[in-house]
């Protein structure tokens, strides 16, 4: 484990110790998993094992909760997380096609990350930019008035950006 990951794990343990001291401590499971995802970006087996020990909740139960809620990622997110809005306005304006383009271009499904770890795709339900529909977000930046071609060029732009940074 890297030093950074160690620090994160310490933060998580402190958070759990606080929860474990309270009444009905097992009911803090979802809050703890939120915290874990906030720290690590996703819920690895290692992290869920840690939560099982910290809260004394069986790992099978944690697995049930973590897989039930779409919010929890079970695989590491890509460097760029692409959230495609599938809200009503975007959907009417062809968001389905945008999503399909992304999936084809990157060769991954929603919830997955590319093998090089650069991109992952998520679905979003309205990001409050209906005037720009259809939209997607990469990180916290919004890209609007998308077409399949424009989508591909934005992705390739990010790929070049990442190559420069590395």
């Amino acid at each position: 484990m890297t030093e950074l990951a160690q620090d994160k794990m310490t933060t998580l343990r402190e958070f759990m110790a606080d929860a474990a001291g309270r009444q009905y401590s097992e009911s803090y499971l979802i809050a703890v998993l939120h915290k874990a995802q906030e720290l690590f970006g996703y819920l690895s087996r290692e992290v869920m094992d840690e939560v099982a020990n910290g809260l004394q909740v069986p790992a099978a139960h944690i697995w049930g909760v973590a897989t039930f809620y779409h919010y929890f990622n079970l695989t590491p997110p890509g460097r760029y997380t692409i959230s495609v809005c599938l809200g009503t306005a975007c959907y009417v304006k062809g968001a389905g096609q945008i999503l399909e383009t992304l999936q084809q271009h990157l060769g991954i499904e929603v919830g997955e990350a590319t093998a090089d770890g650069l991109f992952s795709i998520q679905q979003a339900r309205c990001v409050g930019a209906c005037g720009l529909a259809p939209v997607m977000m990469i990180g916290d930046k919004i890209y609007g008035d998308l077409t399949p071609e424009k989508t591909v060029s934005i992705i390739e732009e990010h790929r070049r950006m990442a190559q420069k940074e590395l």
Partner: protein, 595 residues
């Protein structure tokens, strides 16, 4: 007494006790509302909606398993709309099910099949998408077939509530919901103790034992092999059910005859090694008692319990007897003592065990139990598998002329017979330990205190003025309770028996499925099976393990004496912690493992 209240079922008034569900009240009044996910020993799930009834004033049908009665409640259980809704519900379950009944292992023994027939489904109205999953065949003992699963959740509740192993969960959601171990691990890598109780409560075939019948048929056809069988005490007490015999019929003689008919050259009895186990275990206990050894000593016969111990109670490993299980002792004696006596190359012996248990398949494959580079038992089949083989071979099991097991490893005392039920090992051990310790014969050998189906039983006896306190637990959940007591108060008991399955081996994960009028693992069935073994014990002249002349001869000719070097080589073993990180049942205690 509680004040009785009035309810109306199908317009007729009944006086019933308050504070129960509609289903509970209706059951006592002679109604049997169709049901699926409900099991009386498990928590209420309310998942399947098959048990719906109409309650006046309620907008929708309600699930009778989960809905409490109230004074003046008007309930209808059998209206046209209800029958139709129930039929649709079952039909929708069926639609997402393989519908390959005629090639399914549970054909004719499946609750879903019976329910479909009772609901009057005679044609398919729906044709939707069906879930697709690979079978999980990774485990030697318990396999998973999620396509057959109807998500009733009984296995999950059994595993967490009764057994407290918490291996299973319903993961994902909606159409993608599937019952899996944590992290979607294969069963072989999970914390599954292989007890097989998920199989017992599954209404379909989503959980099954790993079937070895084809391998066994192959071996039985191999003329170069010497095929040697053994069968567990509780197999004889239950196998009759697979052939329509009343629950609790002792079919020992028929089983021996049928197994010879199947092609076994020698049919021995695991009860012989149950007696052998008692010789070793009682001696070990007395050794610990006299030499200030680790107490309480805990029995080690149950393979599911042994895996549970290694995973969740590693701090108690030194408390557990080093004795192998009777099955493994029998296997070891078959390939050493018996092979030598008969001049057979042990490598040519195919050692087969018919067991009430799925975990025995796991145990037989454990590397720790090997000796001279061999497994003691090569193939383990469950009661269900051996029953099927007998049927498949065309043997008239019920009418076959009973036969005796072979000597020298087939002779047993009554103490060996009661091994198959909870409290039996303790009772058998007391009969022998008392005599070994005091030099006097225990007169009153039936130890009532350790019999019966109470979760944790306690008793005590006096040996030369010293009080020996004993406890017995059956089912891993009850074992957890007892072991927590031991952790808090290690002085409280001297000797503890633990069996992994409810009722002990008679309720094993490999026993025949519940038949049409019984509920899986109901107490009445367990009691009847146990009674068959107690009757067998009473019918024997020899009722103490140390009086078994076969065992005496074995010590004289081969082992020397209990706890000898030979005994340690072949009949004892050691267990090591297996710590599945993070996967803990409630209140489990972690210990540091020194690498």
């Amino acid at each position: 007494m509680k004040k009785m209240i009035s309810i109306f079922i199908n317009d007729k008034e009944y006086k019933v006790e308050p504070e129960q569900t509609i289903m509970q009240a209706a059951d006592k009044l002679g109604f049997k509302i169709p049901r699926l996910c409900y099991h009386p020993k498990l928590s209420i799930e309310g998942a399947c909606r098959v048990c719906i009834v109409e309650v006046e004033g309620q907008r929708n049908f309600v699930a009778s398993c989960a809905f409490p009665i109230s004074d003046g409640m008007k309930i209808k259980t059998n209206t046209r709309q209800l029958r139709r809704a129930r039929r649709d519900i079952v039909e929708l379950i069926l639609d997402n099910h393989p519908q390959d009944c005629h090639i399914c292992e549970r054909d004719g023994n499946c609750e879903l099949q019976r329910l479909a027939a009772a609901s009057g489904i005679r044609m398919r109205h729906f044709a939707g998408e069906r879930k697709r999953y690979e079978q999980d065949l990774s485990s030697e003992a318990v396999i998973r077939d999620p396509e057959k699963c109807i998500l009733c959740g009984r296995c999950v509740r059994m595993c967490s509530e009764i057994q407290q192993v918490h291996n299973l969960t319903q993961s994902h959601r909606g159409f993608n919901t599937v019952v899996t171990p944590a992290y979607n691990l294969p069963m072989a890598e999970s914390v599954c103790t292989a007890c097989g109780q998920c199989i017992n409560v599954c209404p379909t075939a989503a959980f099954l034992e790993h079937n070895y019948t084809q391998e066994l048929f192959e071996k039985l056809n191999d003329p170069d092999l010497v095929k040697v069988a053994q069968f567990a005490p509780s197999v004889r007490a239950a196998i009759g059910e697979s052939f329509g015999m009343p629950i609790g019929s002792n079919m020992e003689g028929q089983l021996v005859a049928a197994m010879r008919n199947l092609g076994f050259d020698y049919v021995f009895d695991t009860q012989f090694s149950a007696d052998l186990t008692i010789m070793e275990e009682a001696s070990e206990f007395l050794h610990r008692l006299r030499n200030n050894g680790k107490l309480p000593m805990i029995t080690s016969c149950s393979s599911a319990w042994m895996k549970c111990l290694e995973q969740f109670y590693p701090d108690l490993i030194d408390n557990v007897s080093t004795c192998k299980s009777p099955m493994s002792m029998q296997g070891a004696m078959t390939k050493t003592y018996f092979a030598q006596k008969m001049g057979i190359d042990p490598k040519k012996i195919c050692s087969v065990a018919a067991m009430c248990c799925t975990a025995k398949k796991y145990e037989a494959a454990r590397p720790e139990l090997m000796f001279d580079g061999m497994r003691g038992v090569d193939i383990v089949v469950t009661t269900r598998e051996i029953a099927w083989m007998i049927k498949s071979a065309g043997i008239d099991f019920v009418n076959i002329k009973p036969q005796q097991p072979d000597s020298p490893l087939g002779l047993s005392s009554g103490a060996g017979a009661i091994f198959g039920t909870t409290g039996g090992v303790m009772e058998a051990a007391i009969r022998t330990a008392y005599e070994l310790y005091t030099g006097q014969t225990l007169v009153d050998i039936e130890v009532e205190g350790v019999r019966g189906l109470k979760g944790v039983k306690e008793g005590s006896l006096t040996m030369e003025g010293a009080e020996i306190r004993v406890a017995v637990a059956h089912g891993l959940g009850n074992a957890c309770k007892l072991l927590e007591t031991v952790r808090r108060d290690p002085q409280r008991y001297h000797f503890i028996e633990i069996m992994g399955c409810p009722g002990g081996c008679v309720g094993g994960g490999g026993q025949p499925y519940a038949t049409i009028n019984t509920i899986p693992l109901d107490d009445e069935s367990l009691r009847k099976r146990a009674q068959a073994l107690y009757d067998l014990d009473r019918g024997k002249t020899i009722r103490r393990s140390h009086d078994n002349p076969g065992v005496q001869k074995l010590y004289k000719e081969f082992l020397g004496q209990p706890l000898s070097d030979m005994s340690h080589k072949y009949l004892h073993t050691h267990y090591k912690p297996k710590l599945p990180v993070g996967i803990v049942p409630r209140e489990a205690k972690r210990i540091e493992v020194k690498e």
